[in-house]
Each structure stands twice: as C-alpha cells, then as structure tokens.
C-alpha cells in the first residue's frame, strides 16, 4: 500500500485540526482561538489503495518571519521534511488575509490543494467565492468544507489522491527580482489581486452575532463583570450538577456493587484475602476515585464550551489591562485558563510565546492553577469538613491565583526581568460549537480519567495494599511498611498538623496523581477497619438504587438551573463510608492545612516532567523546591493561626 503524506497548513484557527478529526476519526484538541495546536499532530485514513497520513501543523501567518516556537515547527517541517501533498486551509470569511500565506506556499512548488473551510459562515456574511475561477487562476483543486459539521470533508480524499497521482502543482509567481522587499510586495499584490478576482461581497447592513456579543463581552467595564459571572456559573453548574451524581455513585459502589461482589466471592468459596484485596484496593482505591466521574464530565464540558466558543481571546484582550501591570501580556491568559483543565497542555501552550523569559514566567504560574484532579480533592475534603464547601473551594482557587500572580511578580522583578512585550492578537468570531464535537472531547477526557483510575491509581492501590500487609504476619496496620514510611516522613509534616502516618503516607503517591490521595486513604482506612461481610437483598437494594438515581436526576436538574449554589450548605455529620472514617483522623484545622499544602505544592509528576521538557531541568527542580517550601510555610501559618 502506498503512503501519501498530506500536510495541513494554514493561518492559526482556520479549522485544520477539525478537518483532521473528521478525516482520521481522531479526537485531537480543538478550540476557537489562535494557537490551539502548538505541535505536529498526525492521523491516518485509507482511501482506495492508499494510506493517507495527515499531518497537522501549528498555524502560521507568514513564512517570511518567525516569532515563536510553534511557528518554527511549521517552518522547519515545510522546508526540510518529506511530504507529497500540501493542503492549504483557508478561513473563507477571511480569505483576503489567508491568501497571503497561500502565495508563500506557492513558492514551495509542491502538489497542492486549496481548502475553503467555514464556507457556511462566509455565505451568512454575504461572501461568495468563485471556486472555478480560483481553480483556473491557481491551477490546483479548490474545495469547500465545513469543519464543524464535516460537510465536504470526504471529498478531500479523492482530491488528495488525484493531486498526488497527477502531481498537480500550483501556478508560479514570477518575481523577476531577487530583492526581498520587492518579492514581499509582489506577493502582497498577488494575494490582493487574487482575492479581488474571486470574492464577491454583498452589502449587509445588520450587525453580526459577534459584533452584538462583543458590545457587552469586551466592554471595558461590563466585560470584566461578564467574565466574573461566566466563571462563577461555570464552576457553580459543574459543582451543583455533579455532586448529586457523585453521591449516588458512591452509594451504588459501597452499598450495592461491594456487597454484591462479596456475595459472589462467598458463593465461589474464594479465600478471605481475595475479598480483603477487593474491598481495599478496588472499592477503597479505584472506586473512591471513580465517584468523581460526574465532576470531571461537567467541568470539561463547560471548559470545552468556553474554549470552542471564541470567548477565550476576549478574556485575553480584557485581562491584558491588568496583566500588563505585572509585566505580562494578555496572551498569558490562554495557558492559565487551559490549566483549569490540566496543567500539562497548559505548559505546552506556552510555545506560542515569543520570549523565553515570558514563557518561563507563565510556566511558573501554571502549577498554582487548580486542575480537575485537585478539584476532586477539594470537593472530597471540603464537603467533609466544612459546612459551606463552595466558599472553601472558591477560596482555594483564589489563593492559587494570588500565589500564581505573586510568583510572577517576584520573578519579573528579579530573575526574569525584562520589558513588557507587545500584544498582538486576532479576535476570531464567536462560534456555536457542535454538541457532538463537545461530547467527543469530553468523552476523550473522561476516558483518560477512567484509564488513569484503572491503571495508575489501581497500581498505586495495589502497591499501598501490599505495603500495608508487609512484613507478613503483622498485628497492627501501623506496624506495616506503609506505617513506618508514613511515620518517618511525618517529622517533616508534623509542624503543619499532618503527623498522622495515614495522611503522610497518602502524600507520597500524590506526586504521581493528586487523586491518588483519596484512593490511598481509602485503601489504608479500609485495611484498618474490621471487615464485615454485609449481606444484602439484591432485589431490594437494586430498587433503592433506582429510586435514589431518580432523586439524583431531580436534584441535579434543580442544581443546574438555580442561580445560587445548591451545594453551598452541606452537613458534614451526614458523611458515610470512607468519608466518615477520614473525618475521624483529621480535624478542621488539619484539613485546611492539608488542602493548602496540596494546592501550592507542584501539581504532579507529569507537570514536573513537562516543565523540564518545555522549559529546563533547572526550572523544573527549582520550582519543585520553591513550591514545596511555599506550600509548607503557608500550611504552617494557617495551622498556627487557626
């Protein structure tokens, strides 16, 4: 089978990755802001006798000058790698702008296809493109697509094969000069002439959807207010919608699945350690983490909605007013908002920065922003120890942001001193994202969360369970290896109120994954507990679970539509199962100190490694030490003051 390497190239945010996702069935990250793709991505598909390898490159405005790392990736690939076909993606509503890059791509003299994406948007704006004329002028295939719905995307495959087989190369611009300035000028005139020749615009008098929304959303005063409201509702809905489902899953695992499997073990005559392993490592470990699937679902759903709507660039524009006072431009907001979803892609997103000092500065801000793994922890402990968990979670997010800003301020004044860089940004139009695409992205995140629970968390749980049972024949769990390790490192954490070995032991795997704290505590506490085999009436319990689920839907529905957080006031005394056990080993003071330590201390191993890879080894180690010291000092102050 022959392989055709087709490269997708175009201006940023023209829908290259969306087209690749449609063609290759992949789930690569998309968004409605320039700079979503910062590294080379690949996907493949088969057509006729060909394997078509689609290569998605970071967006680039011009090949004449490079200002950031992601642009360098595209440039290097186009000029030094092997590929057979170029797919130049054009954002049709802004065809005049995009054709400038096209003229530069013509000079590569490679077989090429021009893809007019977002044709539906162009038609709504009264823009008509004479495709046939464009084909005649450029002497290549020109196709129109809709990256949102996938319309016209399948036609790209026969076009790629035909362009490859017939080596359809575009027309060549005759420059008749070697002077760089004149060449650039000629390119500019060529692209302008081309656009004039093929584009017809109807005069539309009514304001566009983007113009109407922008009146409010980027208004210097109301815009900030809307931003706060949007962030408030994002977290309120995520929390209120998910808490009832999380509670139901917890009850379902503990009251139905657990006893059911125990009964199966008894029926099969399995040895007692099998049941013990199951209750500790599986139910106590992995099961406790899976309870948070609804929270992960809702937070990713809402963040994806924000990322794909086009609102993020507006936030960057608004925030530049404040961030530039700290020596940062508004573009730093992108990685910081991305960090709410996961710190790792946020660190990678700093590749779009032009200056290394700016990049390092934002990299040191990112780990203070809480990701969903930390939200899982906050929500677990906040609902357990605080009667008004929402305010505690809000306080922790805010505290993270404050220390993120303080750190950047400190570094800007010392090691990363430099003059404020300029701000240039393209504001894309607002787009209503397709629900199918949002669910696909959310499903991808959920899959990786479940996968992590089934692999990493499960392995950690097994390891902790083994440590709790070694050396063989121990009478008390605290005499086990896990107990000894926990007691040893307890010396460091004792001043911040965390001397209990069960807590300190759970801090070790937290460096691998934050949610491992809950699974580790689950394993330890269930191991300590006297095992009781609870017999249940399966029919009765199933009926109860179904009735509870109906109640849960009702609660989630009301929670979704209420303006005020429904989960604002909870009764910690109602805690059951693992939560009840944890509430016995921690006090309010200790819990707060614990949460602050986890908030400030470098988020996880993946963040550390990415910081090393994207920044430097020195940066990663220095930040690790800094965040540990800062977390310890803050937790100590909070513990002593309360």
């Amino acid at each position: 089978m022959k392989i055709i390497r087709a490269v997708l190239v175009g201006n940023p945010n023209v829908g290259k990755t969306s087209l690749l996702n449609h063609l290759a069935g992949s789930n690569l990250k998309i968004g409605n802001w320039p700079g979503v793709t910062v590294e080379k991505k690949e996907g493949k598909t088969y057509f006729q006798d060909f394997e078509i390898l689609l290569i998605d490159l970071p967006g680039i405005y011009t090949l004449e000058e490079l200002v950031s790392e992601d642009e360098k990736i595209t440039f290097d690939f186009l000029y030094s790698k092997n590929y057979e076909v170029l797919l130049n993606i054009i954002e049709t509503p802004r065809i005049e702008r995009d054709l400038y890059l096209t003229t530069q791509l013509l000079d590569l003299e490679k077989p090429m296809i021009l893809v007019l994406n977002m044709m539906d948007e162009a038609q709504k704006l009264g823009i008509e493109v004479d495709i046939k004329r464009l084909q005649d002028l450029l002497k290549i295939k020109v196709l129109s697509t809709n990256g949102r719905t996938g319309e016209g995307v399948k036609e790209l495959l026969p076009a790629i094969v035909e362009t490859y087989e017939q080596e359809i190369k575009p027309t060549k611009i005759r420059y008749e000069t070697s002077e760089e300035t004149k060449i650039k000028e000629k390119r500019l005139y060529f692209s302008q002439g081309l656009a004039k020749e093929v584009v017809k615009r109807k005069l539309l008098t009514k304001e566009s959807f983007t113009e109407i929304l922008d009146r409010f959303l980027i208004h210097p005063v109301w815009g900030n207010l809307f931003f706060l409201l949007i962030m408030y509702f994002t977290f309120k809905i995520a929390f209120d919608f998910s808490i009832p489902f999380s509670d139901w899953i917890e009850g379902f695992i503990q009251n139905f699945i657990g006893p059911l499997i125990f009964q199966i073990f008894i029926f099969l005559g399995a040895p007692s350690w099998v049941g013990d392993f199951f209750s500790s490592a599986v139910i106590g470990g992995v099961g406790t983490v899976l309870v948070f699937i609804p929270l992960i679902f809702s937070i990713y759903f809402l963040l994806t909605l924000l990322e794909t709507s086009g609102y993020l660039p507006r936030v960057a524009f608004l925030m530049d007013r404040w961030t530039h006072k700290l020596g940062l431009h508004g573009l730093s907001v992108f990685p910081l908002v991305l960090a709410l979803g996961c710190n790792v892609p946020a660190l990678i997103a700093t590749r779009t920065f032009q200056d290394r000092k700016d990049k390092f500065l934002v990299m040191t801000m990112i780990p203070f922003i809480s990701c969903p793994a930390r939200l899982v922890l906050f929500s677990f402990f906040a609902t357990l120890f605080f009667s008004q968990p929402v305010w505690i979670i809000f306080f922790l997010y805010l505290l993270g942001l404050v220390f993120s800003i303080l750190t950047s301020f400190l570094l800007r004044k010392t090691f990363l001193k430099r003059e404020l860089s300029h701000f240039v940004m393209d504001l894309p139009p607002y787009r209503i994202p397709s629900l199918k695409i949002i669910f696909k992205i959310v499903w991808f995140h959920l899959q990786s969360f479940i996968y992590r629970a089934g692999t990493l968390i499960f392995l950690i749980s097994i390891f902790i369970w083994l440590l709790l049972n070694l050396p063989p024949g121990i009478q008390k769990v605290e005499d086990s290896l896990a107990g000894k390790i926990g007691k040893t490192i307890g010396v460091i954490f004792s001043p911040i109120g965390l001397s209990d070995w069960r807590i300190t032991t759970s801090l070790i795997p937290a460096f691998l994954a934050r949610e491992a704290i809950i699974s580790t505590m689950g394993v330890i506490l269930l191991e300590e507990k006297t095992k009781e085999i609870k017999e249940i009436d399966l029919k009765e319990e199933a009926k109860t679970q179904i009735l509870d689920l109906i109640k849960t839907f009702k609660e989630a529905f009301y929670g979704f539509f209420s303006l005020w957080p429904q989960s604002l006031s909870l009764n910690p005394e109602e805690a059951q199962g693992l939560k009840k056990e944890i509430s016995k080993i921690l006090t309010f003071k200790q819990a707060l100190s614990f949460l602050i330590f986890l908030l400030i201390y470098n988020s996880c191993l993946a963040t550390f490694v990415t910081m090393w890879k994207e920044g430097s080894k020195r940066l990663a180690f220095l930040f690790l030490g800094y965040s540990f010291a800062l977390a310890w000092i803050l937790a100590f102050i909070i513990y002593c003051l309360l």
Binding site: E65, L188, D320, H324, V424
Partner: protein, 104 residues
C-alpha cells in the same frame, strides 16, 4: 499620523509599517497590510482594537506607534459604545472617560 494617535470610531488607511521587525511581518500576515482600511472600535488600556470586515485585531500601543496611517473618516462620537480610560498627556497622566471626547 501614527496608528497610536487614532481615536475610537475613526477609520484609517494603513500607509506603511515602519521597521523590519519580525512582529511587523507577523502583523502583515494577520491582515494589517498597506492600503487596507481599518476602523478603531475600541481603545482600552494599552491596546487598540481594529476592525476590517471579519478581521478583528488587537494591537498594543508600542506596535501602533510603528504603523503609519492616514485618517480617512472621523467617528461621530469616539468610543460611543465602549468607554475606556486613556492617557491624555505625556507628562502628567490624567485619566478620564474617552467617550467624553477629545480634550482641546
């Protein structure tokens, strides 16, 4: 005149990009090119928001100082929908609502 001197609501034609810096070439790639007409739709903080058809660009003042423009249309009311703060003098910064109009 320079783009940094243009006020909200005004329409300007780009005459020249002053300099050979990489960022200016990038801006050109983003659509801010010679002979193109842009409307200043908002000035806020250190940034200017420009519009040309579907193209909306935000540029900071230091970049705007490197773009020579020609005023082709004055707005009826500068910043009519978007009040924002702007500096009126170089020596003594004085803050006021820019929709109140240019200080004589």
């Amino acid at each position: 005149m320079l783009l940094s001197e243009a006020r909200c609501g005004e329409k300007v034609r780009i005459k020249k990009l002053l300099g050979e810096e990489a960022i200016l070439r990038k801006i050109e790639g983003m659509g801010l090119r010679k002979e193109m007409i842009f409307e200043i739709i908002q000035r806020c903080g250190r940034n200017i928001l420009l519009k040309n058809g579907e193209n909306r660009l935000a540029v900071s003042n230091d970049i705007a100082k490197k773009i020579e423009v020609e005023l082709i249309e004055k707005g009826e009311l500068p910043c009519k929908t978007s009040p924002c703060f702007e500096k009126t003098t170089k020596t003594k910064p004085k803050w006021r609502w820019c929709f109140l109009g240019k200080e004589e």
